[in-house]
Symmetry: C2
Subunit: 449 residues, 2 copies
C-alpha cells in the first residue's frame, strides 16, 4: 500500500500536467493509468515506410499558450501544417476550388454562411467560458439544439448542409447532439469559430516534430516510477481524513485525488460514499464524440503539384474532411481524413476493407486516379478504445450546461476533476487538458498548504 | 464458483421476471443484486403511524396487461386510486377548481392545450414502438427537442408553461432534455398521452394492496437462494463458450447473461471484451430522471370533505404535482407529491428542513391551513441511490434514438438486455420492466434450446 500526498487517475496530458505541478511543489504523487501507455487521446504511429503519423490529437495553434509553452519547456519543436495552394469543396456533385474565405460555396450561400458565422461569433462572445450557465439568455440558448438554431436562422439549404458538415468536423458529433449553448461556449473557449476552423492562424496551424504524444512521454519520463501503467481504477473511497484509490492489483492512499479522465469514464469508477447527484448525473450525459481517423500514405504529395493544399470539405460524401499531413521533410505524401459523427458510427460496423474502399473512393474523387494507389492506409477508431470510448471530446446536449454545468469542475470533498472537458479555455483540446491539470494541481496544493 | 445456465444482473421487476421465466423452463439461474434488497425502483415504506406507503413506482392501469397478470398470478390485489371530486390547478397566482378535461385552464388556453394534445396523439400514433428510429419523419422528430417543438407550435405562453409542467410530471425531466421523437415514442409505448396522464382510465388508476414491492418480493421468494443480494457486479467476461460474471465477493459462470439494470448503470460494469461502440455510446447518454417523492400524512383526508380529489398541478410552484395517496381503508389522509426535474435537482442541495418547509408551504397554499400540520413527512430521493441514480426512468435527448436506438435491446453475443427502458410497450413503467424480462428470457431460452 503506497501512501502519497496526491493520487492522479489518468496519465493523459491533464493527469501528467497535474502530477508535474504537484511534484514540482515538493509533494508526493502517484499517477494510475489504465492503459499500458501514457498520452491518452494522443498516440504515435507509423506508416509502413516508417514515417511517423499521429493517430490522435495532433495540431496546435495560436492562443494555445499552455501547450505551446509546455512544448517549449520540454525541448520539443513545432512546424507549420502545409497550407499552400487552393482548397476544395464538393457539393451537389460539383467540385469547387477556392483560395478565399468562401469555402468554395456559391456566392449567395457564401454570404449566408458569412452572416450566420458573424452571428455565431457575436453571440459566442457573450458566453463567460468559466461559467456558461451564467450566460445572458443562456437558458434560452440551452433549451435548443444547435441544429434547431441553424434551421430557425436560415432558409438556405446549402448553408445548412455546410454547417451540418462543419460541426462534426469540429465536434465529431452532429448538430442536433449539441445544445446551442454548448456550441457557443466551445467557440468562445477556443477564441472564435474562425480560430477553431482555420489552419494558418487557427487550431490546425502547427504540428509537433515527432508527434504530440512526446509531450506526455517526456512528462512521464520525468515522473519515472510515479506513473503506474495497467492500473485500472475501480473504487475511490474518500472521507475527511483522506482518499484511497483501489485498482485491480492494489491500492494507493493520499490526501487528495485528481481524476483526470473524461467524465463518461469517471462515472464508471465506484465512489464510496457515492458522488452528489448532480455530479453523478453529469457523468450520465457527457458522451464522447464519434470519429475514425485515417492516414493514407503516397510516394509523393502529388496534389501539391496541382496547386492544392490538400484541404477538402465535402457536403456529398461520408469521408468528408481531409488535410495534408505529410511529414515536414516532404519525403512522402500523407493525407489525413476523418469519418465523424453518423459516418463514423456507421463505418465502425463495416469491415476494414469496406472502410478502405470508402476512403479511397472519396480520395480518388477529390484528387484524381493517383489517389487510388497509396502505399499504406492506417485507421484509428477511438470509439472502440476501452479507456477513451470516443474522441475528440465530450459534448453536452440541450439542457445540460444550465442544469449540471456547475458540477463540471467543482471538487467533491477531496476529489478534484481535470481533463480537457473541464477547461474553460480551449475546452476539449490538448491546451485545455494541460490547463485543467495545472488548475486541479493548484486546487490541491492550496488545500495541502 | 457457481455455474448456471443463465446469470441475471439486477433483482428488480425485469431481472426477477426474467429469472422466473428461465427457471420455469427448467434452466438454472442466479440473480445478482447490488443492494441488500430486491425490487429496484419499487420500495415499501411506512409513515410513523404504521400506514404503508410506496417510496417508488406505485400505480398500475389499463393496458398494462403484463403487470396486471403478474399481480393476479402472485395472489396480490389492487384497489382504485381515490379519484372523486374536483382537481386544482394553480397559475399566475390563481386557484382553479375543475372536474372536466380543461385542467382548470382559461378556455382559450384549454383549447390550445387540446389542439396540441391532439396533434401529439396523432404524430405519436405514427411511431412504431419496437423501432422508433424507423418512424416516418423520425430523423426530423429526433433533430429537435420536445421544448423546441412546443415553442414552434404554440404562441400561447400559458399552454407552453402547462406542458413544461406536465412533461416533468411524466418524465421527471424538462422538455428540452427530451427529443421530440423520444416523447412521441413514450406516448405511443404507453398507449396515448391521455393514458399516461389520467388517473381513472390511465396509468394512475389502481394501486397494489400492500405495495408494488410485494411483486418483486414474491418473485424472489419463489426463486429462493437463486437470488444473491449485496453482490455488486464488476466485470462481465464473455466469449463464444459462455460468460463469467465477477462481483465483489465471487463469480458465477453461465451460458448467457441478462443485464437487467438501467443503461446508465449497465455502462459502469466492465465488459471483457469491451462492448461494441454503439452500445457503449448509448450507455453514455441515457440519463435517469430527477425526482424526490414525498408522502405527507394527516389524521384525515380532509380535502375530500371539500369535494377535492387531491390532484393538484401548479404552474407557479416547485412542489407542483400532488395526488391523494391515502390508504384504501381511509384510516388516515396521505398526500403524495413530487419535486421533479430542475426542482428536484435544486431541492436535493437543500437541507431536509428546507425541503419540508417548501412542501408544506405548497400544501397549505393548495389545501388550506390544515395542511400545515401533518403527523409525518417522508421523502425519498431516488437520485442519491447509488444503485438507481435517478427515477422514474432513463430518457433520450435529441439525436439519440436515431443514432443509437438500435442498440437499446439488441443482444451483444451472449449478453442480453432487460429493464423498463428496453421495452417497446409501457417503456419506463413496471409493466414494461416485466415485459422486458420475459422478452430477454425468451431470447436466452431460444438460444439454449
Amino acid at each position: 500500500m503506497v501512501d502519497v500526498d496526491v493520487v492522479v487517475v489518468g496519465a493523459g496530458l491533464a493527469g501528467l500536467s497535474a502530477a508535474r505541478a504537484v511534484e514540482a511543489a515538493g509533494r508526493t504523487v502517484t499517477v494510475l493509468e489504465a492503459r499500458d501507455r501514457v498520452a491518452g487521446r494522443t498516440l504515435g504511429g507509423a506508416l509502413s515506410n516508417g514515417v511517423h503519423v499521429e493517430l490522435g490529437g495532433q495540431w496546435v495553434g495560436p492562443t494555445q499558450d499552455a501547450v505551446l509553452a509546455l512544448i517549449d519547456d520540454l525541448g520539443l519543436e513545432t512546424f507549420p501544417t502545409y497550407d499552400e495552394g487552393a482548397a476544395l469543396t464538393f457539393f451537389d456533385g460539383q467540385r469547387s476550388r477556392y483560395r478565399d474565405e468562401s469555402f468554395g460555396l456559391p456566392q449567395k450561400t457564401a454570404e449566408e454562411v458569412g452572416r450566420l458565422w458573424t452571428k455565431i461569433e457575436e453571440i459566442a462572445a457573450t458566453v463567460p467560458p468559466e461559467s456558461p450557465w451564467e450566460t445572458t439568455h443562456g437558458t434560452d440558448f440551452d433549451r435548443q439544439t444547435l441544429d434547431g438554431w441553424l434551421c430557425a436562422n436560415t432558409d438556405d439549404g446549402l448553408a445548412l448542409r455546410f454547417f451540418r458538415v462543419l460541426v462534426p468536423a469540429v465536434f465529431s458529433a452532429e448538430s442536433p447532439e449539441l445544445s446551442l449553448l454548448h456550441f457557443l461556449f466551445y467557440v468562445r473557449s477556443g477564441t472564435s469559430l474562425e480560430t477553431l476552423v482555420a489552419t494558418t492562424g487557427g487550431a490546425q496551424e502547427r504540428r509537433v516534430v515527432g508527434g504530440t504524444h512526446l509531450i506526455s512521454e517526456r512528462l512521464a519520463e520525468d515522473l519515472g516510477a510515479r506513473v503506474r501503467l495497467e492500473s485500472v481504477v475501480r473504487t475511490i473511497t474518500h472521507d475527511s481524513d483522506g482518499v484511497r484509490v483501489d485498482f485491480e492489483d492494489g491500492s494507493v492512499t493520499g490526501q487528495r485525488v485528481i481524476v483526470a479522465i473524461p467524465q463518461t469514464l469517471a462515472g464508471r469508477v465506484r465512489y464510496v460514499p457515492p458522488l452528489p447527484s448532480r455530479r453523478d448525473a453529469l457523468t450520465q450525459q457527457f458522451p464522447a464524440g464519434s470519429v475514425i481517423k485515417f492516414h493514407v500514405g503516397y510516394e509523393t504529395p502529388f496534389w501539391r503539384e496541382e496547386g492544392l493544399n490538400g484541404f477538402v470539405l465535402s457536403l456529398d460524401d461520408d469521408f468528408n474532411v481531409v488535410l495534408d499531413n505529410s511529414p515536414h521533410d516532404g519525403s512522402c505524401g500523407v493525407l489525413v481524413g476523418f469519418l465523424e459523427g453518423t459516418h463514423a458510427r456507421d463505418a465502425a460496423e463495416m469491415t476494414s476493407d469496406q472502410r478502405r474502399d470508402l476512403v479511397l473512393r472519396a480520395l480518388v474523387k477529390y484528387f484524381g486516379p493517383q489517389a487510388a494507389h497509396p502505399f499504406d492506409i492506417q485507421e484509428q477508431d477511438w470509439m472502440s478504445e476501452e479507456f477513451t470510448r470516443g474522441c475528440y471530446g465530450g459534448r453536452l446536449g440541450a439542457g445540460v450546461w444550465t442544469e449540471y454545468g456547475k458540477a463540471v469542475a467543482a471538487p467533491v470533498g477531496r476529489i478534484h476533476w481535470a481533463g480537457a472537458e473541464t477547461s474553460d479555455i480551449w475546452n476539449g483540446y490538448m491546451d485545455g487538458a494541460i490547463r485543467s491539470g495545472t488548475r486541479a494541481a493548484n486546487e490541491v496544493l492550496h488545500e495541502l498548504s
